[in-house]
């Protein structure tokens, strides 16, 4: 795999999530990108169970268990700011066994689904982020396959993203900052999705609490 950047695109003024996704994909198709199947990234949240908290000063940490259709045989387990574990897909069953320690916050399940596009050596995935029954946002993932060092191709990625995202092209993802010269890997993409999902979950709390 190459270097990947995951970003959120705001819903266009006066448009629905679906309409904004269509606008984006139409721009990609005009650029010459070709449709290549679909993708899905999902994320489940686990709380450290009450019995293990309590030993002084330790707050309950959140753990995220994620899947990516690009790696169908793997399962990713991440802590916020913490390490990322890449396991076989049957890790999920293990989590059920560990429910004394980790409890699944089912209502927090969030996922992004959409279409994959290929343009030259770029792979673009435009997805609708849903939590429960409703669409909450739009994710755009851009992968540049030939390059393995994130900072080497950031400018090039940026130029490509601007060509179809315009001013919504993102800044440097925080994972790039810690990579230096090491090879970019699938876990780095999952961390970016985790951060994106967390951001969208928080954004969601605002309209629920506030009055519109």
């Amino acid at each position: 795999m190459g270097v990947t950047c995951v970003a959120q695109v705001p819903v266009a003024e006066g448009k629905s999530v679906q309409q904004t996704v269509e606008l984006l994909t139409r721009k990609l198709e005009l650029l010459g990108a070709e449709k290549q199947g679909t993708f899905c990234v999902d994320c489940e949240t686990y709380h450290t169970a009450a019995s293990t908290i309590g030993s002084q000063g330790q707050t309950g940490k959140l753990m995220y268990v994620m899947h990516n259709s690009e790696y169908p045989l793997s399962c990713f387990a991440l802590f916020e700011n913490g390490p990322c574990l890449i396991a076989d897909a049957n890790f999920d069953i293990l989590m059920v066994k560990l429910k004394g320690f980790f409890q699944n916050a089912k209502a927090n399940k969030i996922e992004s689904r959409g279409t994959r596009y290929q343009y030259c050596d770029f792979l673009v995935k435009v997805g609708t982020v849903t939590m429960g029954p409703s669409a909450r946002g739009i994710s755009v993932e851009v992968e540049y396959g030939p390059c393995v060092i994130a900072n080497d191709c950031w400018n090039l990625l940026m130029e490509f993203m601007q060509s179809f995202m315009g001013s919504h092209a993102p800044g440097v993802p925080s994972v790039f900052g810690t990579k230096h010269d090491s090879v970019y890997g699938p876990a780095d993409t999952m961390v970016q999705y985790m951060e994106l999902f967390n951001k969208i979950r928080k954004q969601q709390q605002v309209p629920v609490a506030g009055i519109r």
Binding site: Y119, G145, V148, I149, N155, D181
Partner: protein, 312 residues
Amino acid sequence: MAEGVLSPGVNLEAFSQAIAAIQALRSSVTRVFDCLKDGMRNKETLEGREKGFVAAFQESLHSVSRDLGELERLSNLVGKPSENHPLHNSGLLSLDPVQDKTPLYSQLLQAYKWSNKLQYHAGLASGLLNQQSLKRSANQMGVSAKRRPKAQPTTLVLPPQYVDDVISRIDRMFPEMSIQLSRPNGTSAMLLVTLGKVLKVIVVMRSLFIDRTIVKGYNENVHTEDGKLDIWSKSNYQVFQKVTDHATTALLHYQLPQMPDVVVRSFMTWLRSYIKLFQAPCQRCGKFLQDGLPPTWRDFRTLEAFHDTCRQ
């Protein structure tokens, strides 16, 4: 012998019978003319002489027509021998009655003419090129080979130790470039060049001449299933396919037949400029991407980065 020449469609039995029939026809025709030549034999009466001549003439004519009939019958059985055309079996195409729909035969003749012409021009061109000094190998013949005898062949039979030394010196010259030398197929060396974390290049050598290069991504597999260097399959990425094309052009550009080690070093110096393949914007248009590709061309002298379509 005849069996070898004839196509399998020919009925050999009928063929030998037909030959016999031809001989019979010839002898009966000879008899007709003999009969005419001899004229009327001595007979008691003029009438007797005439009668005898006419009977003999009639009889020999009958045998001619009988033998001819027999030959005709056999010739239908023989089938068509195909060897009698100057273009051999392809000559049969001219027998196709629907010329307008399948003008294969005329196209064939045209192609034949073209290939003759091509051969002629290629001969002229090779004569001219042999006078130039642009050569990669010593197997050219002609004028210049006589002028510079034996200077080139020596570079093709360099001892492997010398090649190893040249390569390891280049390896030490460029810290961001690592070169692995192997000889899986006898004396010819193969190099696996790894340039930073950007790309890998497979270089196939013949003595100190570079025969072939393939550029692949840092994360791409360069070995076949049995662990040998894969010198045939190309990169999955368009950017490295493009760089492979340019590297092949570079091989033709860097030429100095008397000093092959300088050529290899120049080529590697040029190749090293790809360390910034994804970081260098185009020196002409200032952009990173054009049609989805970064600047894949490196100028042979200045080593500046250009898009394929922005160079010149």
